[in-house]
Symmetry: C2
């Protein structure tokens, strides 16, 4: 074809984020995105399965970072610790892209349709973590629950991180939330740790 610019996916993602911020997700057509990126609508769908997917990393770099962090952790750590450490790695991953992650999160938060996709990615992340834990010898039920708890903790930590500008590192937020979970799990009915049994 006529000479074409390299990295069509990258330009499409960039164009899409700009347009979504400018006029909103629903008010932006795939054709709009394609035109700003200098390609046709058809090319958009060659790189992304659907309109939402343009906001999500095709290489799944964050998930790989999480899995790698768990795989590299010392043998002695218990499952929930591993999951937490993985999610902290996810925090570090996003910390470098704070501004971009913030804009992106804003767009997603404004669109249920995009939230669904985000949730699906997080579910996939949970499955990946569970698989990695099992690989390291954690029994299936524990692995599943630990992964689910880890991702849940991450979601709340992320929420705080984007909402509160005075919040610390995302990884720190994650560790805070995990500590909260530990405290909750240890709580006994009225009179913590006392007589109740």
């Amino acid at each position: 074809m006529g000479r074409w610019e390299p990295d069509a996916p990258g330009r499409l993602t960039q164009a899409a984020l700009e347009l979504f911020v400018e006029r909103g997700y629903e008010q932006t057509t795939v054709l709009d995105i394609a035109e700003r990126a200098g390609v046709t609508e058809r090319t958009f769908f060659r790189h992304f399965a659907d309109k939402r997917e343009v906001l999500f990393d095709r290489r799944n770099a964050m998930q790989e970072a999480v899995v790698a962090a768990i795989a590299a952790a010392p043998e002695t750590l218990p499952p929930l610790e591993l999951a937490g450490l993985g999610m902290a790695a996810a925090g570090d991953f996003l910390e470098g892209r704070r501004e971009h992650a913030g804009r992106r999160a804003g767009v997603i938060a404004a669109n249920p349709s995009l939230q669904e996709r985000e949730l699906l990615k997080l579910a996939a992340l949970s499955d990946a973590v569970a698989t990695e834990l099992r690989q390291r010898g954690v029994p299936a039920p524990e692995a599943g629950v630990a992964a689910e708890a880890g991702v849940g903790v991450f979601r709340r930590a992320f929420e705080r991180w984007v909402a509160d500008p005075s919040a610390p590192d995302l990884a720190t937020c994650v560790r805070d939330s995990l500590a909260t979970l530990r405290a909750l799990a240890a709580a006994r009915p009225r009179g913590r740790g006392a007589v109740t049994r």
Copy 2:
């Protein structure tokens, strides 16, 4: 108009579930569903926001049951206990509809598009639980984390419940998973609960 049958939404949901099981979600058109239910396509979209929504209860009865269960629980219970008790109520709710829930879960499991919607509903459930916990005086961060953990636990329990025919009550599965989470949260690096610290 010509005399019309009552409960169009109900017949649409029924028709949709049948067709999804018979030929699959993607192979079923909204027109197909509408025709089997004896209405037009337009009427379908008057009752459901989109094609996926037809599989989800418009009254959100389960969520209400969960919130009610938490609201009715004794004052003395700690947050994670409340969340767990709420999810057990969700289990009881689905237990009566086991067969229907099973078929529905099968269809959803086969379609990422439907999984996304399910995940969104669960996220809404998590928010509702968190809100209810805050209403009962639980501080925001604890409420959020407890709700997230509760729903996570529920997901894994539900997974087991549908996959394993020999599994007990869903509510029992939920309590099992919650116990697993508690054990995980208490685990210390190598030598559980012992000298490590």
